[in-house]
């Protein structure tokens, strides 16, 4: 698997060269576009990160998790995973941090750590994707995109825990 990306890049360069693409200029143009994208997205990221840091620092996040805990226990999901499931759609890096903690605490092959690994891998940072993908268009009404994605991810997380219990 370590060969996938290097081979891919090499192939792209070779094919482009053979097809007489002006590689240096084209790459430079693309790179410039990439840079512009990154900074177009920045303000929305700023709003999201402030959101996340604040709910953590103020205890609102913990309150939310406590509220959701009974639901999770009912579904047979250990409460240690509750924080991860709630944070996953909000923050990819935050999720990795939680996963790291869970692995360290329970061991990489424990039910909790394995479920956490699957939840982290199977879900996406919903708010990030939604914010970033719509950062350049003026769309005011998202029409359930976020609730649907959150719900679907939640189903995915439940399935993940069930699968890890029986495998």
């Amino acid at each position: 698997m370590t060969y996938v990306i290097p081979v891919f890049i090499a192939l792209v360069l070779i094919i482009a060269f053979i097809k007489k693409v002006t590689c240096y200029d084209t790459f430079a143009d693309g790179a410039m576009e990439g840079l512009k994208f990154a900074f177009t997205v920045f303000p929305y990221l700023a709003a999201m990160f402030v959101f996340i840091e604040l709910i953590k620092a103020s205890g609102v996040a913990d309150a939310l998790i406590s509220v959701c805990a009974p639901v999770f226990t009912f579904l047979g999901i250990p409460k240690e995973l509750a924080e991860l499931i709630i944070l996953r759609p909000l923050s990819g890096n935050g999720s990795l941090a939680i996963l790291d903690t869970l692995i360290a605490e329970y061991g990489a092959d424990s039910y909790i750590a394995r479920s956490a690994a699957v939840i982290t891998s199977a879900a996406e940072t919903v708010f990030y994707v939604a914010a970033v993908y719509f950062s350049t268009v003026k769309v005011k009404k998202m029409r359930f995109i976020i609730p649907i994605s959150l719900f679907a991810s939640m189903i995915g997380a439940i399935v993940a825990c069930l699968l890890c219990r029986f495998i």
Binding site: K19, T22, F49, V50, E53, V132, A152, A160, I167
Partner: protein, 182 residues
């Protein structure tokens, strides 16, 4: 989005002011600081992959990839133009290969191409975004690496449950989008 953000920020800021007012400003700054650090990291990734993507585009590779995905994109996004379907195919294939760095700008381009300027998310936009929000790379490399370095007996055995869980999530998402169609 605007309402959720405002309400949550108000509640959190007030709560934090009560608990520890001297932490309010630092928390805000830290959030923006993290966003800026993250943006710099992503700028590197985006610049690299958009550069490669520009080469791919000029070399006709993108058209080729779009052709492979055509049966799928024609099914789900039949009302969109060729160019839009091309962006969609590129975004999906980039995600599958684990190149989320290039998937994101392509996703943005796809959404831009779907924009009908009405200010309301179109059916294609909804479907595309939900698919992106519920999908993963086939090989969650980072997570596997974390498990391996922590001494897991079989770090990559999470791949199968991950693929199943994510497929189910995507199907649920797509169904919900179809059901809530105007």
């Amino acid at each position: 989005m605007n309402k959720i953000w405002a309400i949550v920020l108000i509640v959190s800021t007030v709560a934090l002011t009560v608990i520890s007012p001297s932490n309010v400003l630092p928390t805000y700054m830290s959030g923006i600081g993290s966003a800026l650090e993250f943006t710099f990291k992503m700028a590197v990734i985006y610049a690299m992959w958009m550069g490669i993507n520009a080469l791919m585009d000029k070399a006709g590779i993108n058209k080729f990839i779009a052709k492979i995905f055509k049966p799928l994109t024609k099914r789900l996004f039949k009302n969109e133009s060729e160019k839009t379907q091309e962006y969609i195919s590129l975004n999906l294939s980039a995600n599958l290969l684990g190149m989320s760095g290039v998937a994101t700008p392509l996703g943005i381009k796809a959404i831009e191409a779907m924009d009908d300027k009405s200010g309301i998310a179109t059916e294609s936009m909804r479907l595309f975004t939900v698919i992106n929000c519920t999908s993963i790379q086939l090989i969650p490399a980072t997570v596997i690496a974390m498990r391996a370095s922590a001494g897991s007996g079989s770090a990559s055995d999470i791949i199968l449950p991950t693929v199943i869980a994510t497929a189910i999530a995507t199907v649920v998402g797509v169904l919900l989008v179809k059901v809530t169609r105007k």
